[in-house]
Symmetry: C2
Amino acid sequence: MSQKKVLLVDPIRSGGVVPDGIKRELLEYLDGYSTCLYCTGDLHELRKPNIKKLVESLEEFIDCDYVRLVHGAREGMFTVMFAMFKEYVLKGARAPVVVADGNAHYTSILAAERSMLDVVFTATTEHPEYCVVAEDYEKKISEVEREHGKPPLLALVTYPDGYYGNLPELKRIVDICKSHGVPVLINAAYAIGRMKFSLRDTGADFVVGSGHKSMACTGPIGVLGIVGREAEIVLRKSKFKEGKEVELLGCTVRGAPAICLLKVLPYLKKRVVKWDAKVNIARYVADRLEKELEFRLLGERPRRHDLLHFETPRLYEISVKIRDRFFLYKELKKRKIIGIKPGITKRMKISTYLLEKEDANYFVDSLVEIVERFEKYGFTNR
Amino acid sequence: MSQKKVLLVDPIRSGGVVPDGIKRELLEYLDGYSTCLYCTGDLHELRKPNIKKLVESLEEFIDCDYVRLVHGAREGMFTVMFAMFKEYVLKGARAPVVVADGNAHYTSILAAERSMLDVVFTATTEHPEYCVVAEDYEKKISEVEREHGKPPLLALVTYPDGYYGNLPELKRIVDICKSHGVPVLINAAYAIGRMKFSLRDTGADFVVGSGHKSMACTGPIGVLGIVGREAEIVLRKSKFKEGKEVELLGCTVRGAPAICLLKVLPYLKKRVVKWDAKVNIARYVADRLEKELEFRLLGERPRRHDLLHFETPRLYEISVKIRDRFFLYKELKKRKIIGIKPGITKRMKISTYLLEKEDANYFVDSLVEIVERFEKYGFTNR
């Protein structure tokens, strides 16, 4: 057991691990402005290193008209919201409101707040599934239309959300929004780079992905994908500086994260086709933890993502009994399992993304062993 | 000669070279979200890695009340301008205008354009010095006041600019702006990390610095420094998400560049005190090139920065004669000197920041040799 590799089950880090070989290649790009020696005026047009080709490959990978590198998913969402705000809200065509799914990440709310937009949330089903209710977009959009006399600026769908790993019914939601003429932005920070994703297929206008969260990339970096005519708004050129895109402030990721994404993309293309195997591991882990430790799985069933969120009453009871909220964190660390939130015992959020079947068994076996030992002996027999 | 190390004279890259030892240390932080394993909800409050200490050390280094990590100097300028726009322009207190020095970087113009602000430029002296005329801030601010009936939102000073490396009279400019109640933002992308800088001493409100440009840091990263009450505007907390700063979208540089800055700061503290020696090398190189090749130095005299910009008529004449705009780039590359813009021969922009005295001589000797040989033999004797 002591020879075991380190297992990382951290939801925000499991999809961002960079292959070792690529890390070593990055050494020569760690100086500042390492992308810019052959600058031709626009990061996305660079041929050496070939960022232009990266962008074109990403347009294919995400299946959309335009891709731009951004500093992360949140910065991508802000870029869209603020550009749209200026074009449509300030000119009176739309209400300063984003209709977002009830599971939206906090950064979407900050991106809206920074853009002077209110957020109206759609309903989700109740505990324990918390599924986004697609039809509620119809209701919420209609309410905004009634209140403001015009449609909301934008609809946002988090696919999947980071709390439960639920995958909303994209097609249905987009159809509803489009029937009201409302453009749709998908936050796919936990999708792009893990699973196949086609923006065109969804019918939505925008998508953001996260390099550091799900694209095996050193951070910070994200991608913004666009289909259709709203591209003119978000990618408008400066009136004063020829060729520079205003909303990107000219160039965005001018350094190592852009090179990393360039180098890692072939690996991403291969790994997304193995997504089903990843989901199977997640289901297997969830199943064992529910059966053997009575952990209560939150979120939709069957699982369709590696993010798992459990209520864990037995962990909580132990922590109360032994007066130590950190016991599980410490015990797992001894077993080279890292990435659960230290001090949290009522709930457990993990990602099984990096676990092979034997790792999954080691992880569950370790949890079972820890729980049973502490329940039986408390601190006394450690 | 063939054993010679590579000499980098690229103005945008010379201050961003990361010490080799630190590059190797970064290997273990190249995974995505490598700063976030012990997340406590705010990047700037993290204790492990100790970003909180980094921020405090930077507040001392830049001598200001608050420092925040941003994605670069341009993103820092946008953050200030847009936050101030919402607080002062939208509420009617100030005109939507930034009064900027005539040498301002294009990114300041994009940051203003993105923030729905106009830019009014102050005058500079004429060719060849292009010095910012401090008194012109008085004139331009008064003009805005007359036209709009209220003061401009902000004044911007580029210290130094990236075209000529001129250092404007900060104290005088700030005094003028303050006498009109206009807050001042300093773009110190080519200063912080190269030379000592105290925001408090300038009397200005904001400063931005660039990690990848002048702080020996892997990119993209920058710093935003604030003194005084405008901090409340720029660092306001979300109404919806407790503890999150809206204008930073919660957290900014969540990855390797933040770790790099943490590791490199002690080195920066040491190198800024050796600034005079750097300036002496710049003066030495400029002096020799003027005397030996009749290059015409642009910008203020005496030089007070390592950025050098020359008119180079002899290079241009050679390129016309031999019909090859790239001869100098190729010849320098053979001699392991990199960083001049390929194909540009009428002018030459370099930084001498990384050159020791013997490197400076090697660089000038190489240029002299190339020019004299091509003038004498053209292509024939290469």
